[in-house]
């Protein structure tokens, strides 16, 4: 699934969040959007899901402009994971996973089979399928959230700070799992994060959003070698140690320093 932003401008009241943004994410690519809090990273994802609409310009999905009438169909084609999962506390793990499939008319057996398959993929004990979110650990909840996003095997996956609320050990483990997953599944993946090392581990292409524009766009190595401006240099410097480690591939248990 290919995403394109064409001259997209987004405001919240007087504040410009995105200004005349033109961007393309190729089908099957894995990209990370970085930036400070409030830089508009999450807005970017919401525009793709039709949860928010631009004041100017348009969002194209597989070359077709996104319109309100198509938003439900598009959302079903895109898995979405937010920080702390957004699991529904009144439903069990399976109930959470089954929400959309049930509406799509899947049989009970098909739902169970798919859930078991994903549990194996995400290394989640199947016994936890009947637990409520409140009975799971933070890491387990995030695994379930990813599973829920993958239930109908959508061609694209959007993750908004998926590891943001986890402690370092769990975070590192899940990071490795996701990195492997993205390589195996060949989906279009967009990850929003403010953690440079994490972005380097998970994604091939890193974009830095600042002042409503993309100020740096490319593989992690180019951020070190050809920083576009002083802000990029500062952003990199703040997380340099972790980044070097991530690039050398020698990540230990202390990785993911923030």
């Amino acid at each position: 699934m290919e995403f394109r932003f064409e001259g997209v401008e987004k405001r919240h009241g007087p504040n410009v969040i995105l200004q005349s943004l033109t961007l393309r994410f190729a089908a099957g690519s894995v990209s990370a959007i970085l930036g400070e809090s409030g830089a508009g990273k999450s807005t970017l994802l919401r525009l793709l899901l039709g949860l928010d609409w631009p004041e100017r310009g348009q969002v194209l999905i597989d070359g077709v402009a996104l319109e309100p009438a198509r938003r439900l169909a598009v959302r079903r084609q895109i898995g979405y994971v937010i920080q702390e999962g957004g699991l529904f506390p009144h439903l069990t793990t399976l109930g959470n996973l089954a929400l959309l499939p049930r509406h799509l008319g899947w049989s009970r057996e098909r739902i169970r089979a798919r859930a078991a398959e994903l549990a194996e993929l995400m290394e989640l004990p199947t016994a936890l399928l009947n637990r409520f979110p409140g009975e799971l650990s933070g890491g387990q909840r995030q695994r379930v959230a990813v599973m829920r996003a993958l239930m109908s095997d959508p061609p694209a996956l959007l993750l908004d700070e998926p590891l943001g609320a986890l402690d370092p050990l769990v975070r590192d483990e899940l990071q490795q799992r996701l990195a492997a997953l993205f390589r195996e599944l060949s989906k279009t993946v967009l990850i929003v994060t403010h953690d440079l090392p994490e972005a380097a581990v998970l994604a091939d292409r890193l974009l830095l959003l600042h002042g409503g524009r993309i100020v740096q766009d490319g593989p992690a190595r180019t951020w070190l070698e050809q920083p576009a401006d002083a802000f990029v240099r500062r952003f990199v410097a703040a997380q340099r140690g972790g980044l070097a480690e991530a690039l050398s591939g020698s990540r230990g248990v202390h990785a993911g320093s923030r």
């Binding site: 959302r75 957004g86 699991l87 529904f88 506390p89 959309l100």
Partner: protein
């Protein structure tokens, strides 16, 4: 209509809902009238056709004398072969007047002074000559109401003080009160409200007492006995005047107009049931002030049933009649409806409790079901559209601030009297907690969950059904529970407009100054409220999913 703001006499502190509702009932019972209006005639007349009863009925106000008079008319009509339903102790003058205009009742005993000063305020209050009476009759006729001949006694307002105090302070007339502003006044709420009551009286006599409290007429005597007040308003036929050694102060400036007891009845009822008019005319001039005082005393001081007292008096009254004759004529035809819901004592009270419980549950159940059917969708809608939700909340909150009794009175022109207006009023009261809790329950779902549900690609109604309503269920059920418990308490007020239920013994108990009787209504009402609360707690536990019971947000 003036809001019954005269409830100064009774404090209703921040008690739990049930107690507060019961307190409200007391307050409401104290505010006899307070809604003088002849404007509603047109609308009420229009509603008449829809609610005209198949049988003739007579109403009575919520004090002994009125009940006895209606009992007597019932007996006289009975003798003439007309079965008259007696709607007992319906409320103050305004409620009876509205009920008569609406056709919910066909006749009720009224006083000419009340008519002039309160119900038809356009008339000169003191015009007692022939021209004045003709004007009164003409005004009534325009509303389709006829006035019968005087019954033979006058029951007007007066102020009275304990004779011991009157002697000590040399009080003989109302003018003498001016020198003693330290005396504490306990005045009935209706008297406080009426143009021919306290407002006019204090002006004409220049009275400025330091303490004036409003309370129920029958409680005023208790206040005197217990030394909580020194001056009360009395009716000149009150039994307690002699029994409690009170001195009635002379109206030396002739403030109080005449209060001849008369029958008011509907013209169309007189055409339909000629025996009704005949019975009314037959009672003309038959009851003296002394007789009335004795009858009142028999009920209020000797605690006899008003029907029994009326029957005994009626037996002595019948032209050339004897007790035997009256009794035999009563036996020969259907008995005069022996209190479908009376004061209740003795062997029948178990069945009576059951009947009252059924009436009460019906009032609460139907009004709550209606409120659910309307309130839940409104709450859901309001949560989706804040532009609708905000005014909706404000409107239901305003509804809640209308005093219960006023709301009940507003319902009479629309629904007549009985269960229907009570259900309508209770329905309006239930709306707020249900709408508010549905709305806030839905609106307070954490934003990430709302976002996740939307991002899944589920249509609006599926999200609502599978995610949002279950998450808000606890709050919504709490709202329904609040509405139900408030309803159980407020429904006791329904008795004021003839809806039955637990309010009846409470009202009668207040009228007869009988604490036992009040408890017979108040205790089951409190128990029912507790049961309802418990039932909803169980329901909440059953409906709350396990995931929400132990844990908050993940």
């Amino acid at each position: 209509m003036p809001a019954p703001a005269e409830a100064r006499g009774l404090r209703v502190p921040g008690l739990p809902g049930v107690l507060r509702a019961l307190g409200l009932l007391l307050v409401a019972a104290l505010i006899g009238g307070g809604a003088p209006s002849a404007d509603a005639m047109g609308a009420a007349g229009a509603a008449r056709a829809a609610f005209a009863g198949p049988t003739a009925s007579v109403g009575s106000k919520n004090f002994t004398e009125s009940l006895i008079l209606a009992d007597l008319l019932q007996l006289e009509a009975q003798r003439r072969g007309l079965t008259l339903v007696h709607r007992r102790a319906m409320g103050g003058s305004a409620i009876l007047w509205q009920a008569l205009l609406a056709g919910s009742i066909d006749a009720y005993p009224e006083y000419t002074g009340t008519l002039r000063a309160q119900l038809l305020p356009g008339l000169a209050p003191t015009a007692h000559d022939a021209a004045g009476e003709a004007a009164l009759r003409a005004t009534l006729a325009r509303a389709g109401v006829l006035m019968g001949p005087p019954l033979g006694f006058e029951d007007r307002y007066a102020l009275a003080v304990p004779s011991a105090i009157a002697q000590r302070l040399h009080l003989a007339s109302l003018s003498d009160l001016r020198a003693h502003p330290e005396l504490r006044y306990a005045l009935s709420n209706e008297f406080m409200d009426r143009a021919d009551g306290w407002p006019g009286l204090r002006r004409v006599y220049g009275l400025a007492p330091r303490s004036v409290r409003g309370l129920d007429h029958s409680l005023a005597y208790r206040a005197l006995r217990e030394g909580a007040a020194e001056v009360v308003d009395v009716y000149t036929t009150d039994a307690q005047i002699a029994a409690q050694h009170l001195t009635v102060l002379k109206d030396d400036r002739h403030f109080f107009p005449r209060y001849d007891a008369v029958w008011l009845y509907r013209r169309d009822a007189a055409v339909r049931w000629p025996a009704l008019a005949a019975a009314i005319n037959a009672l003309a001039g038959r009851i003296s002030v002394q007789s009335m005082q004795r009858l009142n005393a028999a009920v209020q001081l000797q605690h006899r049933d008003d029907r029994e007292v009326a029957a005994a008096f009626y037996a002595t009254l019948a032209p050339g009649g004897s007790a035997a004759q009256a009794a035999s004529s009563a036996a020969g035809s259907p008995a005069p409806a022996p209190a479908a819901r009376g004061t209740g004592s003795g062997p029948g009270s178990g069945a009576q409790l059951l009947a009252r419980t059924r009436e009460h549950l019906l009032l609460v159940g139907i009004s709550l079901a209606l409120a659910l059917a309307i309130g839940l969708p409104l709450g859901v809608l309001g949560a989706q559209l804040p532009a609708l939700g905000r005014p909706l909340l404000a409107l239901s909150a305003v509804m809640q601030t209308i005093p219960s009794l006023a709301l009940l009175v507003f319902m009479i022109p629309l629904f007549g009297i009985g269960a229907r207006p009570a259900i309508a009023a209770l329905f309006l009261y239930s709306l707020l907690p249900i709408v508010r809790n549905t709305l806030t329950g839905l609106a307070s779902i954490p934003a990430p969950l709302v976002l996740s549900a939307a991002a899944l690609g589920l249509p609006r109604h599926v999200r609502l059904l599978r995610v949002e309503l279950p998450l808000a269920a606890r709050t919504i059920i709490a709202g329904i529970s609040t509405a139900a418990v408030i309803n159980v308490g407020t429904a006791t007020l329904g008795a004021l407009i003839g809806a039955g239920g637990y309010g009846e013994p409470i009202l009668t108990g207040i009228r007869l100054d009988d604490v036992g009787l009040i408890l017979r209504g108040a205790v089951p009402a409190a128990v029912l409220a507790l049961l309802v609360m418990g039932a909803f707690q169980l329901l909440e536990r059953a409906v709350t999913p396990r995931g929400l019971r132990q844990f908050r947000e993940p």
